[in-house]
Amino acid sequence: MAQIVNMPKLGFDMAEGTLVRWVINEGENVTKGAVLAEIETDKATVEVESAFSGVLFRQLVNQGTVVPINDPIAVIAEPGEQVDLESLLGKPAESEKQPEIEHPSEAKAEEKPEVKTPPPAQPAPAPQVPPATGGPVLASPLARTMATELGIDLRQVHGSGPDGRIAKKDIESYQAKPAEQVAVKAPVVAPGPAFVRETRALPLPRLRAAIGRRMAESMKQAPHFYVTHDYNVGALVERRKEINALLGEDAKLSVNDFIVRAVALALLEFPNLNASLDLKNNTLIYHGEINVGVAVAVENGLLTVVNRNTDQKTVHQISSELKVMVARAREGKVHPEDIEGSTFTVSNMGMYDVDQFTAIINPPEAAILAVGSAVQVPVIANGELTIGTRMKATLSVDHRISDGAEGARFLQALAKYIEEPLRLLI
């Protein structure tokens, strides 16, 4: 019995996904749980696993196609099974898969629809569609893994193996090759040798492109305003030191773990900042869960890993959950649920000696908190100059959802937890 695979919904705000790459070709066997394809959402590239076993009878969309959630992307059938796509999908079979873009003129000239399903009288052959690009790119599994990680298009790489198969060394030499695209020489201004570095044009990595799109959209659509607050973190730093003395090397808590919990508790009092704007329906969505996202720097960009129901967890729980997800994110093995569903984001650059900075809101959230370093500074207490420990945090807020006064009150509420850290531990 043939089964339809649909574009999965990987988060409450996901409307569509781009099918980046088919992992299983038509006619190949699929087992339940095997990776069928890679799709790219606004946030990351994730793998779609098959919920069925059988043969991939038909890929319904080409690589690079943007598909709305729940729309069919593939059909999986029993080996040898004849599938009537029309009745299965409830629409004409020939319209599903558009010709590859490499042959736009042919596609126009060729008016008559080509029905790929063989006549039913024939013995069932393996359903196979000849690739339109003159055969698939031959590459070793390792070369494919490397190309994906490095964002290299395998079609650009020369394969040195049998039948032009691409191996690890071909990827390495492709990378090492000075970019043939642009090599600009500086004009000679004065006599004498000048050292000229090459200007290189490299393809934009996918994650980089996704971040760019998303951040540009956020800045364009959400009018940001910023509020900064200076926190006294002397007590927090001390408590953390005491607690960490009791914990093993792998279980130590970071300052950020405390801040994440503080943010979750403060958000309980500020539902406006734990909300999303739904412009299409002219409504504000107040999220029932407080899911705090934490921005993580990864190769070629950043990801936001999500701690769920943060208000109901201890600092220790938050810490251990985040550690696991951060490790996965850095290894490029992030799970879809790791990065979906955050309702508020914390971006902490304390480890980089940053006094303060402003962050761009992670759509469709209402606000983001940018946290700087905790540093010793001169402070005046009771008319005397003493040494204190301070940390600045800047809240970026979507003005369509909230206003400056509320942002400031949120930061004050946050102070209650950050400056009296025992509140975070009870």
């Binding site: 070793s140 599994p141 390792l142 494919r144 193996g161 690890k168």
Partner: protein
Amino acid sequence: MPRITMREAISQALWEEMERDPDVFILGEEVGLWGGSYAVTRGFYDHFGTDRVKDTPISEATIVGAAIGAALTGLRPVAELMTINFAFSAFEHIVNQAAKLHYMFAGQMVLPMVIRTVSGGGRQLAATHSQTPDVIFAHFPGLKVVAPGTPEDAKGLLKSSIRSNDPILFIESATLYSSRGEVPDGEVLIPIGKSKVQRVGKDVTIVTYSKMLETSMKAADQLAQEGIEAEIVDLRTLRPLDMEPVIASFKKTNRAVIVEEGWRSFGIGAEVASRIYEEAFDYLDAPIQRVAQKEVPLPYNRTLEQFALPQVEDVIRAVKEVA
């Protein structure tokens, strides 16, 4: 460290264990008065006496059957089968009794027994006496199959085998008895079921065991002169098979050649390659190569025999195929 032969290493292991534990005894064809057909037990009969070094009739089923009975009653027999080709005459006792009694009687008894035997070709003993059917025995759960490739491993693994409470088939190579290697003084014990990296390299992983370890080492030396550094993982035990060092090495080199003396079909190479595909597919940079014996009953004619057995040149060719 003294450099001794494989024969001396095996002999030392037997001698030391018999001195250590009075329950250990030897039985087999011509192991006593004659000193063993490969001279491993020379001098044992005079030293340990007829109770502990037993010459048997020419009946492999009797040898293994008697060993099973002795093991069941608490002794630690070391049975010698002159060649693994004769183990077929004792097949029922090995795979249906020795391998299964512990399991079929709910673990009520153990079988602390070792069957020492000799595998491999290359000595012009013709098709029926030159086989390498190690993989057949490694197929059966309940049996442990040990096949060392160096004197040190032979000594350490045989001593561990004698002390083990499981039935063990201990396979020696017919053409390795005179090869020498360093063996530490004093007690040598090597755990069963652990593969070992015998040579470190970065370009290709050669997985092998027993006689083919020697062949692969020679190939690796020649390849090194051409700038190809092969890493060699010696399986040492076929069951239980320890893939960890193999996978670790493969993740480093991304290429593998598996070398075995037996036939290719359904062989060690097939098993190891399959496990690599399962456990390290994304690290694969070239199809895995297998080097094995040509698929014919081994010829008696010396030239043909050598042609049919895997040689150093075959290993080099396979490595160049993937590297």
